[in-house]
Structure formats: C-alpha cells, structure tokens
C-alpha cells in the first residue's frame, strides 16, 4: 500500500511536467525512438535531427506522450542533467528518461534510457567558447538516486572542454547503475582526446550524445574440479607424449655417423694411391675423421 502513494505522486508530477512541456514551446523534445537497451542515441537540438521535416517529428513525440499516459506510466522516470561551465553554478541542461523495471525478486533496474538535451543558448555558447579558450573544465552532474533525486548527493563528472568539439559537440555518457542508484557517470569525448589539446571551435553548436547504461558484471566462478577429473586430466596429458619422428630424435647421432661413413668412403677411394703409407693407416684414419673431415685433409 505504501508504494502506491509515491507512484501516484510521480504520476502527478509527470503529468504536470507534460502539461508544462506542452505550454512551453522552448522545449521541443524530438526523441528518436530507438528501443536499444544500451544505446539511446539522441540528437539534442532541433536542427540536428532531420531539420527539413520538423512537423512529423513533433507528431511522433506527441504520440509517445499519449502512449506514455496510456501505459502503466508509473514505471517511467525522468531525471535531469545539469551542467556548469568552469566554476559556475549548475543549471539544467537536459533530461534523461527511462523505464523502471521491477524484477520478480523486488530489485529495480532502469532500461530504455533516453536522453534529450536542451539546445545551447547564446549565453551558453559564449561561456563554452570561453572554456575552450582557457582549456577549462565543462562539468555535468546527475542525481545519485533516480527515483528520489538528488539522493545523497549529485554525481559529478567533468571533461576538458577542448575534448568535446569535433564536427558538432560529441559527448559520451557511461552511467554506472546499482539498482535505481547512479554510482558514477563517466563523461567525455566519444573518441580520443589527444594531448596537447588544440583549440578548435565546433562547426555546429549542437550535441551529439551517446549514452550507455552499465551494471556490474558477475565475476567468473573459481574453477572447481572434482579430484578425479583433475587426476584424469593429469594422466591424460602424460600418456600420449607426442611421438617425434626418428630423425627428430636421433639427428645428433646420425649426422656424425653420416660424416664418418662419407669420410670412410673417400678414404677407401684414396687408398690405392696412398698404399705406400701402409695398411695400419685405415683404422687410424677412422679415428682421425671423428675430428672432422678438415683435419683428415690436413694430415695428408
């Protein structure tokens, strides 16, 4: 029973938010409906995503809104992203929305995270340019608890502003979750940010955002072998010692033997000419040959 009340409140809050969204034309959410668990690819501002057909986009959003209100909207939550330029105060910069999934054993997780970023105002732009000039930090923060923001405190992350500009402004969020709590957010450039950082102004003042939700991985279990399995394996390894070829085993004996034979043959062929030296030489020569054919030749 207790649970219903906050959900109802949430619903009310959400509904009022929708009303607010309707009335304020400044915010034009144009969610790209990618049902990707991990990647909620999101174009923040209007000109970036299909600027030539704004009307249908808006219509889709309205449908989603209707869909939201029709569905069990109690499982939908939103939390805001706030940013700061250098040491300035944090101001809202965008909204994350996600579906709260309650698993059978009571744990809650977020899925289908989507992100919509507010467009940079002229003032923001100036501030950001200043950051680029000074090579200062662009900082963001998120609530540590998504259900009851801000939770214990805000999770802060920052990046050197010069890492972001590419074609537009590329940003990459990795949000580490533990249930409905955000542990940490890794915020940074999508790719590399080489050092020393060069001053580069973006062509388009719009964010190209990538978000990833991450939960903890399971550690691999320690391998548990039954004793006999281990024994079998051990034995199995010992039994077939890879049979090497005859040549591989005995080459060190075969080569000298071959040399001796060859030498003996040449000696035998030379014998008639060296007959003067006496028959006893043959046995001796065999011994001499072991020292290599060279020595045999020298002796002559």
């Amino acid at each position: 029973m207790k649970k219903k009340l906050p959900l109802f409140a949430l619903f009310l809050f959400f509904f009022s938010l929708l009303l607010f969204c309707h009335s304020s034309l400044a915010f034009e959410s144009d969610e790209l409906l990618v049902d990707d668990e991990e990647f909620g690819l999101e174009g923040g501002s209007k000109p970036q995503i299909k600027p030539h057909e704004p009307a249908p986009t808006r219509s889709t959003t309205t449908t989603t809104r209707r869909k939201v209100s029709d569905q069990d909207s109690d499982s939908k939550i939103q939390f805001s992203l706030e940013h700061a330029f250098g040491d300035s105060d944090f101001v809202p910069a965008g909204t994350f929305s996600a579906r709260l999934k309650t698993s059978s054993h009571g744990g809650q997780t977020l899925t289908k995270l989507r992100f919509s970023r507010n467009a940079f105002t002229g003032e923001d732009k100036e501030k950001f340019e200043k950051l680029l000039q000074d090579d200062d930090f662009y900082r963001i923060r998120l609530p540590s608890n998504t259900v009851s923001p801000p939770g214990r405190d805000y999770i802060i992350s920052s990046v050197k502003a010069r890492c972001l500009p590419r074609e537009g402004l590329d940003e990459h969020f990795v949000i580490h979750m533990e249930g409905v709590n955000i542990l940490a957010v890794n915020y940074g450039a999508f790719g590399a940010c080489s050092y020393p950082r060069q001053l580069k102004l973006p062509h388009k003042w719009s964010f190209n955002s990538h978000t990833v939700l991450k939960n903890s991985e399971q550690a691999p279990r320690a391998p548990i072998f039954a004793e006999e399995v281990l024994g079998e394996n051990g034995e199995g390894e010992i039994i077939p010692p890879p049979e090497r070829s005859f040549w591989a085993k005995y080459w060190m004996y075969l080569i000298p033997l071959g040399l001796i034979v060859i030498n003996a043959v040449t000696q035998a062929m030379n014998m008639p000419e060296e007959g003067v030296q006496g028959g006893g030489q043959t046995q001796q020569s065999a011994a001499a040959i072991q020292r290599g054919p060279g020595s045999a030749v020298r002796r002559r």
Binding site: Y154, V159, K160, H176, A184, G191, Y195, S216, P220, F225
Partner: protein
C-alpha cells in the same frame, strides 16, 4: 644476507620472578599484546607470546604459573614459567563492562592450589590456579555495583570488594575467599559523588575524588562501618584548579595526585588526616611498593636532572630516608622515564640490593643496577608505522683496509676450493663469511644491496637500520615543541634524494605528524638527515594534513615537491620556495588527486583551481575544486579497501608477446585505483552474514577522470580484502562464503587502442600511435581478463617484488596468518591459464589451471622464522636487476634479499675469482707446452 630481530613492544606490566629455581627472570606484558619472559642478566627473550590485536593484556601476575588476564577481562590464561607453554585457559563470562582486575592473594593456599581472584564484566570470579576451574562467581552487576577494588585483608581468607553504584553510593562487601560466601555488606551514600580512580592507602581505607575534582574523599570501612572524610585540596595548600586525578599506586599509607604539571605525594597520618609529603614535577615516576624481608616495604622514585636520571629507593612510609640513591647518565634520545618497576636481591654482603626496570619514552627497556645500565632493549622497533629507504654515502677514493682484506679472503677461498687449506684456514674462511664485513660497510655498494632502512615508530622515534646486519646506525627521538603535547606521527616521505646534482647534500626524509588524534589537528613537519640522524628543521603548521602527495618534480637541490591537503580541501605546497612555486605553476593544470571517504562511501577527484583567497596572502596555498565523484549507495555498498600503484614502480615493457606471435598491450596508468566494497551487512567478521546477503564489488577507477574502467561483483564473498596493484594487474584476497574458503582473484587490463600496432610496415613508416602521449580524457578501449583461485591461508599483508628496471618476473609476497612471508610466482595468478594449455602456451610458461594456488613449503622467504604480529611488507629494488630487497615488519623484523628469477645477472658470493684466474693461466700454459711439443714433433717428422 637475512636477519631477523625479535622485540616485545612498550612494557605495561612487569612481574619479577626470583625463586631460586633456574635463572632470574622478569615476566612482562606490553602494549603490543606480547607476554614475554626476559632474562634479567642480559635482557634476552626466554619465551614470548604475541596475543591477537584485540586481545589486550589487562593484568599479569605470577601464581604457580604466569597468569594473564586479557580481552577486557574475559580471558584468563596460565603459562608455564620455564618454557611459556600454555597450561590452561578460562573464559570468564559477565554481562556488563567493568574495570578488569586481577588479584593473586599470597596466602590463600589449599595444598598447592592458590586462588586467583578476577573481577571483570561486573562479576567476581575465583579461579583455581591448577587447572583454571572457576570455583565460584559472584555477580555484582545485578546489584548495579561497579567494582573498583578487590582488597585482601591481611593474613586472613577474607576479601573486601568495594565499588560504586551510580556515582554516589558506596558499597563494601566482605567475602570469604574460599567459598564466596558473603559475610557482610555495607553501603553508604556520599552526596558529592565519586569520580576517577581510587587509591588504596591501607587494607581498609581508600582515597578518591568527588565529582568536582577539588575534594579528596577518604573512605574507611573498618569495623563494618563506612565513614567518609572530606579534605579540600586547597586546605592542603594546593591550587586545585585544572586537571586533578589520582594515580593508581600501591604504596602503603600514601598516594599520588596529579595536578596539572606536578605530582603530590599525600600521606594518611595516624589521625586520619591527609598531609602533603612531597611535591615533584610530573616527569617524576614512582614504582609500586615492593615487599622485601619481614614485611618491609620499598618503592623507587625516578627523577630527571639534566642528562642524568636519579633513582632513589625509599622505605615505605618514610619519605626522608633513602635505601639506595643512584644517578645514571641517560642518552637524551631516550626521552623521559615512563614507568619503573623494582626488584630486590641479596648482595654478597647479605644486605639488600635493588635493581630497577625502567621503561622510557622511546619504549626502550633498561635494567639499572648499581648505578649502571646493565642492558637495554630498543623495543620501539616493535611498533613500526612507516618505512622508507635511503642510499648510503658513496665510498671515498683510495685503497681501504677492507679491500686488502677482501683480496686476502679471495686467496683463502682459493685455498679452500683447491683442498689445500689447513683446518685453521677453513675456520678463518667460515669466520669471515659469517662476519662478512663487506655487507655491513657504511658505504654504497655496486649492486645496491646496502641501504639504510629509515623506520618511524609509534614512540616518535626514528631509527636507521643497516640492511646488511640490521644494526641501528642512528636513532632520533623527534623533538617535541611547546605548542603541542600529544603529537602523533603518521608517515615518512623521501624529501631529498640527491643523485644527479647536489651530490654534496645529504639525503633527508620528511616526517609528517599531527598534533592530536583528530584529522583536523594541525600538522607537524620534521626534516631528518638520513646520514647523520639529525633533525634539520621542524615546523608546527597552522593547517592540518589529511593527505600528503609527493609530486614527481624536484627543485635544483633535488628536494621533492610535496602537496599537503588540509581538511578544507585546500592544498599547500612545500618546500616554500619561489623555485618550487615556479615549477608548480608550469604543471598547474596537470595536477589532480583523489580522496576516498570510506565512511561516507564517496570517492572524489579534485584539481587545483586558484590561489587561496584569504585575509593573509599565502602564495603556497591553493583552492581546489571537485572534478568528479563516485557515490556508493549506503544500503548496498561499503568501501573496505582502496589500493593504488606504487608511485616509483618501473615497468619494463608495455607489450606482452603471446605464444601465437601476437602482441597484447598492457594498460599501464599511474592513475589507477582499486576499490573494493562489500554489502554493509557482510562488513563484519566472517560468518556474520549469509552468502545470499553478502557480495563484494571490485572497481578499477581512473583517478583523473573518475572513469570506472572495470567493475565486477563476486556474489557470496566478503572481506577483509587485501589487494596489490602493479603494472596492469591487480590481485586481491577475500573470503568466499559459499565455498567456505579464501580466494584470490587476478584481473589484468589490456589496452585495445594500441592493438593495431602489429603491422611491421606501419611501425617502420612511423604510422603508429605508440609515441603519442596518452590522455586520460580519451575514451579508453580496454579489455580485462580475470580468474579466481582458492587459497588456503588468510592473509595479513600482500606485497609484490619490485626490481630496478622491471624486467625480472614478479612474485607476490603474502604475509600469512602464521606470520610468515610466502613468495608466490605471479605466473600462478595469470588469467590466461587454462586447463589444457597448448604446446605453444606451455612454452610461454603458462601453467595448467588448477582450482587452488599451490603453497610450496620451500617458497617461504622467512624460512622457519616467524615475523610475529606481521603488519607490513616493503620491497625495494636493488641496483642489480635480478634482486629485490624485502623487509617485513610487525613485532619482529625480518629482512632478506630475493631473486624471483634467480640471480641471472651476477655470480654467487661463493664464486672464486682466483680459481678462474688460475684455470686460465693453467690453460694458457698448457697451450704453450703443447704447441712447443707439436712443433718439435713436426720437425722430427720432416727430418724423417
């Protein structure tokens, strides 16, 4: 090569054993929870037991055996006097905490069994000294009485138990000690209330303070009547403002009161009046009363006078008479006298002599007899806080005596190997080898084996130990400033290590301490020269030092730049020179650090922002800002370990060539932090949580950006976690509740962004990114590999060997629960191990996977020795690449040299150069002879 030293720590209690059987001994208990029996003649340890960290010794006495009361009065043990074997052990139960008291009455004997009275946990227990059986128990907690004293009435089997109920009700029980029968119970209320300790003046009178701490209350409970008598401190002519406390003592008819900076000896006169006998400053120490022949009593008073210490032994109750008066010269590095225990002996002329055991401020223990220090023990070394090393001075030019000696030794060795040596020569060789003057020289050696181990102890004393033989080269008791009376020391840092320029400067270390215990207390810095052991400088800072960061920059005199973080998160740069600030300004934007708030479960990253804004302009102070934060949910995770890489670690190569001729690039970052968290429910001791509600999560965090590089959950696991992070791997040890065993896991990180650099052509053409600077702001492309194994032991400390260039393979040094150090090859903790490695993998050195790590008895680097109370293991690279120096410390010290891959780059000490030379000469001679012979033969053959 190895040395091992045994210590006991600062002595708390000492009991002399003077029975004629065997040699004379003293049994002591110490603050390191050690019980030891020492030889009174030489100070050597006969036997020793190190109790656990939580097993604090409360009392010690000698009945038939040595009796100790420990663990807040819940464990009573008896140890055999000659050899220290435990005879029996009893657990005393009770409901409530109370002051643990141990009393061994002298005359309550039935046959050989004497009675031991223990008051603890609100109960009084009588225990048999033969087998530890509890004879009777009386619960005072039920009557909500807190027992203050247990008193034996002279020569009878009755005891008095006195205590308070609340703060003002006084109770006195008279009990038959033999059977626990209550004979009498008196109670009386005192309106002023009681506070603090009680001092027993006679067997039926005690003195305590009232709650205002300005009135001394004399309580007498003789003749079944309780009477209070108040004496205002001001009536004794003393100013009672300030801190007044009664010091526990056992002098008859006298007690000691400490008021601010001085101590008063107050006597109870026969008319039950109090009178001040003597007034001394607070540095004077008094021993307990000692009973010698026919009920005569004596006690010792130790006073300081300049560099001398005066010891006077006085007969009980008579202040103006001296039995012994001695004055001894005392090294001022020992500080003040903290405790004194006296003992009597019979002189050759049958008169009574006294000896005193003195515990000094630096935790050393001295035995003083006949005005001389008979022996001393440097027991501060049992409580090491931090260790660092220093190089020795370079050897001066010229032929030294040692060199001549060395060449002599070479010839002797040669004689030995050629079997020509006479028995005397063999003995001489052995003697030289044992003494090995080479290893204890006070100069730097070629291999870098000789070093100074600079050790900071809890006693605020710094020692320099020579790594060759472990002797104390110098010691320094840190200077205490007037501004701070309870300084505590924290850490040692290498302040100045000249090796390139500034060679004529001596190296120095920085000692960081704080004034008080809280982390907000102002910091104290001291600089100590490591060659001379002199304190160069010392500062009392205005700010605190929560964290100290040595920076990788040095100034022109090779002083290392250090940043101190105070509790307001401001950083302060040291040394405070303009040169330092200009170096710092250049690197201003590249300085980051992190802080771990384990209690809050928050890790934060910081960067320098700007100069401090404040009324006082401080050029060396900087404001900081938070760059990132990681917040662990309180309900599911609690930080129990955070380990980072050693700052001075050297990695030889980033590439690792696998058996498939493939290259893997290690992810090597100095800014890696390993954090382990557990479920709060499972943060207690093992067995306090079910496997289902216990988990261990490990993180690898980049400390510049706060990026979580790796996160993994071990379900059913819990701490304590011991981890070591080195190169690109982390090894951690924890308990697996499901398997009921300890486990060790290894995780290795590899950098994928460099993985394409395999093309030789690309490398030749320079189209690679190997030389590009690495930035933490780039999104890392990494892969991790993990594996887990069972490990038999629980672990006290883990370290890894470190060598000069990082080429030699590594060994993990594991301090086991048995206080030994086990060296385990890192190859056993390799995530690439598999059950059936291929032939190529085997050639690479991959060991077939097994479920547990092997413990090979030969791989204990401590051999059969134990480093009792092991707390830490330090590894230092020697100059010789193959060798690493290992120093393990706890209550004991152990030092050794390790070569994880054998000494492949040097010859053994036994190698005889002379023999090699002789062999070469012989060979050359042989060549000449054979040449001549063959020439002759050839000539002969030509003539034929």
């Amino acid at each position: 090569m190895d040395w091992h030293q045994q210590y006991i720590g600062k002595v708390k209690h000492a009991v002399f054993h003077t029975q004629k059987t065997g040699r004379k001994r003293v049994v002591v208990s110490t603050e390191e929870n050690v019980i030891a029996s020492l030889d009174l003649r030489h100070g050597e340890i006969f036997w020793r037991h190190v109790l656990g960290i939580n097993d604090v010794v409360d009392g010690i006495d000698i009945a038939l055996d040595v009796i100790t009361l420990s663990s807040d009065g819940s464990t009573l043990r008896a140890w055999n006097l000659p050899d220290g074997q435990m005879v029996w052990e009893s657990f005393l139960r009770g409901s409530k905490h109370s002051k643990p008291l141990l009393l061994v009455p002298t005359n309550l004997k039935v046959d050989k069994d004497s009675l031991i009275l223990v008051s603890s946990k609100g109960c009084l227990h009588a225990v048999s000294s033969i087998d530890g059986e509890i004879l009777w128990t009386r619960d005072f907690a039920a009557e909500s009485v807190e027992v203050q004293q247990v008193i034996q009435l002279d020569e009878s089997d009755q005891i008095y138990v006195v205590g308070y109920a609340g703060s003002s009700q006084f109770h006195a029980y008279q009990i038959n000690a033999m059977n626990g029968e209550l004979l009498n119970h008196e109670t009386a209320a005192f309106s002023g209330g009681f506070v603090g300790d009680v001092a027993l003046v006679s067997s039926d009178t005690l003195v305590t303070l009232d709650t205002t701490r300005s009135i001394l209350v004399t309580v007498s409970f003789k003749n079944r009547k309780i009477a209070f008598q108040e004496t205002h401190l001001s009536n004794l002519g003393e100013d009672s403002s300030g801190m007044v406390e009664i010091l526990p003592s056992s002098l008859t008819g006298m007690f000691t009161v400490k008021i601010n900076n001085y101590k008063l000896f107050i006597r109870l006169t026969s008319e039950d009046k109090l009178e001040v006998v003597h007034k001394v400053d607070h540095e004077t120490v008094v021993s307990d009363a000692l009973v010698f022949s026919e009920g005569k009593e004596a006690f010792a008073v130790v006073e300081h006078g300049g560099s001398k210490v005066d010891i006077t032994v006085k007969p009980g109750q008579d202040w103006n008479n001296n039995l012994v008066q001695e004055s001894i010269e005392m090294d001022h590095q020992r500080g003040l006298v903290h405790k004194v225990f006296i003992n009597n002996y019979l002189r050759t002329d049958r008169s009574h002599g006294f000896r005193a055991l003195i515990v000094m401020e630096d935790h050393s223990l001295l035995l003083v007899q006949q005005g001389k220090i008979v022996w001393n023990r440097e027991d501060a070394l049992a409580s090491i806080i931090d260790v660092t090393t220093s190089e020795l001075p370079v050897e001066k030019e010229g032929v030294s005596v040692a060199k001549v000696e060395h060449s002599l030794f070479e010839w002797l060795k040669l004689k030995g190997t050629l079997m020509l040596a006479s028995p005397e020569d063999v003995a001489a060789i052995q003697a030289i080898r044992l003494k090995s003057s080479e290893k204890s020289k006070m100069t730097r050696d070629h291999n870098g084996f000789r070093k100074l181990l600079i050790v900071l102890t809890k006693a605020r004393k710094i020692f320099a130990l020579h790594s060759g033989d472990g002797r104390v080269v110098w010691s320094l008791l840190l200077h205490k400033s007037e501004a701070c009376d309870s300084p505590t020391e924290l850490n040692l840092y290498q302040w100045q290590t000249p090796h390139h320029h500034a060679m004529d400067e001596n190296p120095s270390v920085l000692v960081v301490g704080r004034c008080g215990v809280s982390s907000k207390a102002p910091a104290i810095l001291s600089f100590v020269d490591t060659y001379t052991g002199k304190e160069l400088n010392s500062f009392d800072l205005v700010h605190s030092a929560v964290q100290v960061m040595p920076l990788p920059f040095t100034d022109s005199t090779e002083q290392r730049l250090h940043l101190l973080v105070d509790d307001d998160r401001r950083i302060h740069l040291y040394p405070k020179t303009s040169e330092a600030i200009s170096i710092f300004q250049q690197e201003f934007s590249n300085i980051y650090w992190y802080s771990v708030e384990a209690d809050n479960g928050i890790i934060k990253g910081h960067a320098v922002k700007s100069k401090c804004a404040g009324e006082v302009l401080d050029d060396f102070c900087f404001e900081t800002r938070v760059l990132w934060s990681i917040i662990f949910p309180m309900e599911s995770e609690k930080i129990i370990a955070a380990v980072s890489r050693k700052q001075n670690e050297v990695v030889h190569t980033q590439a690792k060539v696998t058996s498939e001729q493939d290259v893997m690039y290690k992810y090597i970052s100095k800014n890696l932090l390993f954090v382990a968290t557990v479920a709060p429910k499972a943060s207690g001791h093992i067995g306090s949580a079910d496997p289902d509600e216990a988990w261990l999560v490990v993180y690898l965090i980049d400390t510049i950006t706060g990026r979580i590089l790796h996160r993994m959950t071990h379900h059913g696991a819990q701490g304590p976690v011991h981890a070591v992070l080195s190169e690109n791997w982390v090894v951690y040890h924890y308990f697996n509740l499901r398997a009921h065993r300890y486990e060790m896991s290894v995780t290795e990180i590899y950098d994928q962004s460099r993985a394409e650099n395999k093309d030789v052509l690309k490398l030749v053409l320079g189209k690679h990114n190997l030389t590009a600077p690495v930035s933490s702001y780039s999104r890392p492309e990494i892969t991790t590999k993990s594996q887990t194994y069972f490990f038999t032991h629980s672990v006290k400390a883990v370290a890894v060997t470190s060598t000069a260039k990082g080429i030699t393979s590594k060994q993990l040094l594991i301090g086991t629960i048995g206080d030994q150090v086990l060296a385990l090859d890192k190859r056993f903790l390799d995530p690439r191990r598999s059950i059936n490695p291929t032939q190529a993998e085997k050639e690479e050195g991959i060991i077939p996977l097994a479920d547990s790590l092997p413990i090979i008895p030969q791989s204990y680097v401590t051999h059969s020795l134990k480093v009792e109370g092991l707390r830490g293991i330090l590894t230092v690279p020697a100059k010789l690449e193959s060798t690493t120096l290992v120093f393990a410390y706890g209550v004991d010290l152990f030092y050794t040299r390790l070569a994880p891959s054998r000494t492949y780059d040097s010859l053994t000490e036994d190698f005889s150069y002379a023999l090699l030379l002789l062999t070469i000469v012989a060979l050359v001679a042989a060549i000449f002879v054979t040449w001549v012979l063959s020439e002759k033969k050839e000539l002969r053959e030509k003539w034929r």
